[in-house]
Amino acid sequence: MTAFEASNPEITVYVPRDAAALSVGADEVADAIRAEALKRGLPVRLVRNGSRGMLWLEPLVEVATASGRIAYGPVAPEDVSTLFETGFPTSCDHPLCLGPTEEIPYLRNQERLTFARCGVIDPLSVADYRSHSGFRGLERALSLTPAEIVAEVLESGLRGRGGAGFPTGIKWRTVLDARADQKFICCNADEGDSGTFADRMIMEGDPFLLVEGMTIAGIAVGATEGYVYIRSEYPHAIATMREAIRLARAEGWLGERIHGTEHTFHLDVRVGAGAYICGEETSMLESLEGKRGMVRAKPPLPALEGLFGKPTVVNNVLSLTSVPVILEKGAAHYRDFGVGRSRGTLAFQLAGNIRRGGIVEKAFGVTLHELLYEFGGGTASGRPIRAVQAGGPLGAYLPESQFHLPKDYEAFAAVEAMVGHGGIVVFDDSVDMARQARFAMEFCAAESCGKCTPCRIGAVRGVEVMDRIIAGDSVAKNIALLQDLCEVMTDGSLCAMGGMTPIPVRSALKHFPEDFARTPDRAAAE
């Protein structure tokens, strides 16, 4: 079937170390392969790579051959002995064999710029990173002036991937132009939105990319120190980033006088403590300062008075990891992807009740329909898709009639929806949208920082009102009350936590009114 390199008898087998792969048994599969190879006297070199992002196929095992990598999946530990019996790793005769990895349509039809290396290399090998054009963006940045780097990022059209979509180049220029004895780069790796895992996957699968992006940011704005703020729910990402920083420092890619230049950049990991609001940038800065994560009023912008009052770049993981390829290949290359004012690619995340969940990196302009059906293959349950929540817990619930929408910041904003961090959570027709609206309020009540009344108290009231609606108690009156409450929260909240919680609530009500039309009998029957 495939021609294996005769000159190199050692066979390289890849088993991911990504947390999602581990969650369905990747360590056990790796152990079984090691044991079976030993038993059979086969010279197997095991590499623990990141994930390719085809999460429904995890654990996805790959074998390196002269004609590219061959995939097997999903492999359970108990499949390993039958794999070897059918000739693994030198022939591909097993029902789990998927053929060449890069030919799997889900992967072949993507446009991978940020995730190009994820799942391909050993995440903690600087040599592997280098041999896949790693640090080329940084090398180019080292030969440019700060203003030239900022101009390149501005021209690429890159907008913040954390949710708000603010142009990254403009933020960087503000920090570059600020005069201060000290500036900071803070990477927002709090990734609290349900349905998102791209930050985690890139930190676990290609951590040097984040090191490189942050170092470029530091050189661009004149910051010599950076922090990666990672949520505590991500122990694997925390460990991988810490190790990557240690290795990068040991090889001269971080620290004093990077590779003999006059540039210095120090990087450290800080761990959150289970507070969704700490993903909001000013709350994150408070947390990094060792305080409660109370949201700060803006202005002052963090770009001018950020961490410890110093000019600070706050960027999401995916914004910073898009920078190296922009520097390496030039702004125009990146800009050529996308539509309108949404340039480049986004790593969409298909989550929830979806048959083929995972990462789909595509240029902006791809429709929800393509993502949900062509990539995602419909629901995992096999039932019809009834609703998707796009853009995290503060994002709208959308019905099928809106699946033709192209993924584009402006097109989504026009229907009060959000591209956000690219998460898409799928629900089948068993979903109860009144319960989803209730949860949006419950989440806000649990995660509010408490600074403003409309958010702190409004969300608690929202849960009570939803409970009455669900119980079929004076439904029309309570829906009117809910609408009023949403208005107060939208208008009177300091940040998007309280200000946007009404979006999932109102969209559920607008698109799925039948779920709210309850009577006491129906509630009693349930």
């Binding site: 581990l22 349900s194 895992f197 729910e233 989550a351 979903v431 989803q436 989440f443």
Partner: protein, 162 residues
């Protein structure tokens, strides 16, 4: 397995000394204390206030703000069940009910035999393989009632194997 060392002032001071040079050191110190003692002991508040030159109210405010910091010692293992939207779409509410029933515990509580503290969390970053659960620092995906029973059984079996 959760570390749950009994409170020792000298040990706590050593942990503070190890981290106090960091900028914004309070969170890293709280994490390190919880990693040693299993929770933020009541005695930690005045100690941190003194050592870091903060008011007790400041320290208490930080400890109580973050869901991750506990005020009481957990069971031997922590079970974090995701209750956010992607996991809801795959039936995490049934999973939560099953766990509460089979362990006779409610969310936030610890089983009578001190084996498991069961908590709910919002998203573990495993939303394509929902429902997701984390036991101590091990992540699990596609968890249903049968699988959680096996996982918890194996967790206990691994204890006695040691």
């Amino acid at each position: 397995m959760n570390a749950r060392a009994p409170w020792r002032e000298e040990r706590a001071c050593a942990i503070v000394a190890e981290h106090r040079h960091l900028r914004g050191s309070l969170l890293p110190i709280l994490h390190a204390l919880q990693e040693e003692f299993g929770c933020i002991d009541q005695a930690a508040v005045p100690l941190l206030a003194r050592e870091l030159n903060l008011s007790r109210a400041d320290v208490h405010g930080v400890v109580s703000f973050y869901h991750e910091f506990r005020r009481t010692r957990p069971g031997r293992h922590t079970v974090k069940v995701c209750r956010a939207e992607a996991c809801q779409s795959m039936g995490c509410d049934d999973l939560v009910s099953h766990i509460e029933r089979s362990l006779s515990v409610s969310l936030g509580g610890t089983t009578a035999d001190d084996a498991f503290t069961v908590e709910s969390v919002f998203c573990l970053g495993n939303c394509a393989l929902s429902p997701a659960v984390m036991v101590d620092e091990r992540l699990y995906g596609r968890v249903d009632a049968r699988r959680i029973d096996a996982i918890l059984g194996a967790t206990l079996a691994a204890e006695t194997a040691r």
